[in-house]
């Protein structure tokens, strides 16, 4: 296939040509309340071809994997590029130079998922789902899902990239539903990694994931919502990953910066407390199994760490080769495409905050009144750096002590204000944001993490004094 891609590339008259073959297998087993909801095997193979023609981009994809089909696809891509060029005012003169990736790339895998039989996976999902319902009589329903994304990719570019890439990302999740006296709540826990079976369950066993989801669902039945207003919040590593992703990560994506996100023109400026150093990493040295791990991006660029914020100062943007030229940043392998039918766009990988000197106990001790927020959240970003995210678990902090569990806790704020307010950062550090997907026109597997931090944000809730 590599030879075939090279043969087609040689026929291109475009200024830049990129051919990406991807064969993806997604296997899913899902059981809900004792019923097999899904036992599926999805297979997709094809090639996406992006070309830079007359200063504009063209793209086309095909599942016809022979010379004729691929040549046709190349022609369509160039034709679309020529058409786009007719409408494009600012032409792309050239792309930032890179050392193109070459060779075969495989993730570190401990105990390949392929070595575990379908039967074993089905039995595990069934047993864990059943187990979840047994945790408490208040658990009325639950579901358990195992799925694995197995990729085989090849990238050939006219700049000399010739990479063959293998990747495996398994995910295991449990949802529990508790109900009592007309109230209903759900608890969720999951894990996702780049790697094998042992890596998937290295941090948490399937039983622990089940226990966590079930206990949370039951405990939430007694929980009430928070008081609204500005408050000190202590975020766990999972939510620190999420705040890095939403509050900063999206606003420093080069395409968004060029269009005028609030981060435009702020390189070299203090955008956060000096305690904040923020990195987006292709393969984090701290955890090579992070769910967003990639060694080569979809422009054939070997990944590196992008040090976005260093001790509070904005140092770089996240770019592809086009935006690197425009914004004067180094390409670190942030151009990603989900499948062969998607074009590469600027995305995060594994975004984290570097650890500090405090301990969680010290942070809590110093906090008279506030909230301790833990993972399982979802979030969104905005052009003006106004971000929001939900917390899976939230506890009151009173006089340094962790108090009662709260439900329905969402926080928001402006990234600069909130990151400047960071006044304590713990030594603990881990990644825990790998399950689910990030959406930006197309999905992507990302991860995030960091230490515990304390900062000041707005918490949505009941108007005070009511």
């Amino acid at each position: 296939m590599l030879d075939l891609l090279s043969k087609v590339e040689a026929k291109s008259v475009a200024k830049y040509t990129e051919l990406r073959f991807q064969s993806r297998q997604v296997n899913r087993i899902s059981i809900e309340k004792g019923e097999l909801e899904s036992a599926s095997s999805s297979s997709r193979r094809g090639v996406g071809i992006r070309t830079l023609v007359d200063g504009a981009w063209g793209f086309s994809s095909t599942n016809k994997l022979e010379l004729g089909g691929l040549s046709e696809c190349l022609d369509s891509s160039m034709k679309a590029g020529r058409m786009a060029s007719k409408g494009r005012k600012e032409k792309v003169e050239s792309l930032e130079d890179v050392t193109p990736a070459s060779g075969t790339f495989r993730p570190k895998v401990n105990d390949p998922v392929e070595d575990h039989s379908l039967e074993e996976k089905m039995n595990l999902v069934r047993d864990i789902e059943e187990r979840t319902r047994g945790v408490s009589e208040d658990i009325k329903s639950s579901s358990c899902t195992y799925y694995e994304i197995i990729d085989h990719k090849m990238i050939v570019t006219s700049d000399g990239a010739e990479a063959e890439i293998f990747d495996v990302k398994p995910e295991f999740s449990v949802l529990a539903v508790a109900a009592r006296e007309g109230k209903m709540n759900m608890g969720y826990d999951a894990n996702c990694v780049t790697g094998g079976w042992k890596d998937l369950f290295a941090e948490k066993s399937p039983e622990e994931i089940s226990e966590k989801a079930a206990t949370l669902a039951v405990d939430l039945l007694k929980a009430s919502g928070p008081e609204g207003g500005e408050s000190l919040v202590v975020l766990d590593p999972s939510l620190v990953g999420l705040i890095c992703h939403e509050a900063i990560g999206h606003t420093v994506e080069g395409d968004f910066v060029a269009a005028g996100s609030i981060m435009k023109g702020k390189l070299g400026e203090a955008v956060a407390s000096p305690l904040v150093s923020l990195v987006d990493s292709g393969v984090p040295a701290e955890n090579v199994h992070a769910a967003g791990a990639i060694q080569v991006d979809d422009e054939g660029v070997s990944t590196k760490d992008a040090r976005i914020i260093d001790k509070g100062m904005l140092r770089t943007y996240l770019v592809n080769r086009e935006m690197a030229k425009e914004l004067g940043a180094e390409p670190c392998g942030n151009a990603r495409a989900f499948e062969h039918t998607n074009r590469p766009i600027i995305r995060m990988r594994n975004t984290y905050l570097e650890p500090g000197d405090s301990s969680l106990d010290e942070i809590l001790e110093e906090t008279k009144k506030g909230y301790l927020l833990k993972g399982g959240g979802e979030g969104q970003a905005d052009a003006n750096a106004e971000f929001m995210f939900t917390a899976g678990e939230a506890y009151e902090i009173n006089d340094g002590e962790i108090g009662k569990l709260l439900k329905n806790v969402t926080i928001s704020g402006r990234a600069f204000d909130v990151l400047k307010s960071v006044d304590m950062v713990s030594r603990d550090f881990w990644f825990d944001m790998g399950y689910g997907m990030c959406f930006k026109g197309q999905p992507a597997k990302v991860d995030g993490g960091g230490p515990y931090i304390r900062c000041l944000t707005m918490v949505g809730g009941k108007a005070e004094g009511r």
Binding site: S40, A259, N408, T410, A463
Partner: protein, 446 residues
């Protein structure tokens, strides 16, 4: 019988020979062209040819499913074998049966022959017009992203009980997203999006102006002081809050698994009497309109909530069989997954009052056009950030609002609907009025 249906039919027979007790084949094929905007300019043109096959088999009442992005015989046979392998390991479940054939009616307006001559050049012209209209509207506008895409496709479903359905569609989707910038101030991101099956209904200028008006009117926004009071949810915000929660609660699969607050509540009052909600798979020019569902059964128009009373859940064949009722034609999903249960076009009936009268009668409240948040569909709890908000005082829209959150519980809000507007908007597959609800917690810094 069209070519695609004949491939499906052949595959059904092949599946039976390979050992399936029952088999269902969904085939899709289509071509699309698209021009995308980025950073105030045309960015990329693209054309794609796509296909896909989804195969569901039952063997000894065990379920197996496989899909491939191909409609070649060899790939289909390979997928049938994978599905059968999965079914061989699956538990036997009594409701694992495919539906019998049911008569289908043709739905008009899904395929526009004029789409056959719609080229990348036309998509470029539309994308350019959309960009220019937005930029000309106000010099403070900046367009981050946008697309104009045209698609033509065909779909065929056949199963071993005689279901045979096929349909051609054309569709056009266009959207524009960005912000307004004035000096140091960057507004909230906002967008506008439209869909049609019909070439003559394409109107990119309207979408561009709507987007431009939304972002410029939000400049100068401030937070408000916290209060508890009325909130007027615009169609977009209504879709996120009421849409997310209602579509979960009326889904028979969730009801049967004890994951819905509407369980055992048919015939009961579940919300204010001024709210009626339908699922309409036959809606004129609707995004989710087609003559049949994911199992090849006819789409329908179903009253879900009528004047506050819960009338019906939505069903596919499996969930209908468990409740001993008929499928409502709500089998959902694409070729990549086994059919689930889902809404088609959700329509909330219009009310009696004009939007401006609803605002006029509001003493101290908030208009919320859009929300950034994730309501919990099970409990109904929500806490979300207001986007494109306006503070209303003594009946006047006095100030655009940002850095403000609203929170509460959707099931509570459904019982506190004060007014429903005459005006409605389509937000993708939803058609909604503006809805005024009482007693919402508003958190701000003002």
């Amino acid at each position: 019988m069209g070519q695609l249906l004949s491939i499906a039919d052949t595959a059904v027979n092949k599946g039976l020979k390979l050992g399936a007790d029952e088999i269902e084949i969904l085939l899709l094929r289509g071509e699309s062209t698209e021009v995308a905007l980025e950073n105030n300019d045309i960015h990329i043109g693209r054309t794609d040819v796509r296909s896909g096959t989804g195969i569901r088999v039952f063997k000894k009442k065990g379920l197996g499913f496989a899909s491939t992005n191909s409609v070649n015989e060899k790939d289909i046979v390979n997928a049938i074998e994978r599905a059968l392998q999965l079914a061989g390991h699956a538990p036997s479940e009594p409701w694992n049966e495919l539906p019998d054939k049911a008569p289908l009616k043709d739905v008009d307006g899904l395929y526009d022959p004029e789409s056959e001559s719609f080229e990348t050049e036309d998509a470029l012209q539309m994308a350019t017009e959309m960009l220019n209209t937005a930029k000309d509207f106000d010099e403070r506008i900046t367009v981050d992203k946008g697309t104009f895409s045209a698609h033509r496709g065909e779909e065929a479903i056949a199963n071993s009980r005689g279901v045979q359905a096929e349909e051609k569609t054309s569709s056009f989707l266009w959207f524009i997203m960005g912000m307004a910038i004035e000096g140091e101030e960057v507004s909230n991101l906002d967008y506008s999006i439209r869909f049609t099956h019909n070439v003559r209904k394409i109107d990119v200028g309207k979408v561009a102006e709507e987007f431009a008006e939304r972002v410029t009117s939000s400049l100068g926004a401030k937070s408000v002081g916290s209060f508890e009071g009325p909130v007027i949810l615009g169609p977009d915000a209504g879709k996120l809050l009421l849409g997310t929660v209602l579509t979960h609660a009326i889904n028979s699969d969730n009801v049967q698994k004890g994951m819905s607050q509407f369980g055992e509540k048919i015939g009961e009052e579940v919300c204010s009497t001024n709210l009626s909600v339908m699922d309409d798979g036959l809606l004129e020019d609707g995004l989710a309109t087609s003559s049949f569902d994911r199992e090849g059964l006819p789409h329908q128009r179903i009253g879900l909530i009528e004047n506050g009373i819960l009338k019906s859940y939505i069903y596919n064949t499996k969930t209908a069989s468990k409740d001993s009722v008929r499928s409502t034609g709500n089998a959902s999903g694409d070729e990549r997954q086994s059919p689930g249960v889902g809404t088609t076009n959700v329509v909330i009936e219009d009310g009696k009052k004009r939007f401006e009268d609803i605002v006029g009668e509001t003493e101290h409240g908030l208009i919320v056009r859009r929300l950034s948040g994730y309501p919990d569909p099970l409990s109904g709890d929500f806490s979300a950030v207001v986007k494109g908000g306006f503070l209303v005082k003594n009946g006047d829209m006095v100030q655009p609002v940002t850095d403000t959150m609203i929170s509460g519980n959707v099931f509570d809000l459904l019982r506190r609907i004060d007014a429903v507007s005459k005006e409605r908007e389509r937000v993708m597959s939803f058609t909604l009025p503006s809805i005024k609800v009482e007693g919402v917690s508003v958190t701000g810094k003002g």
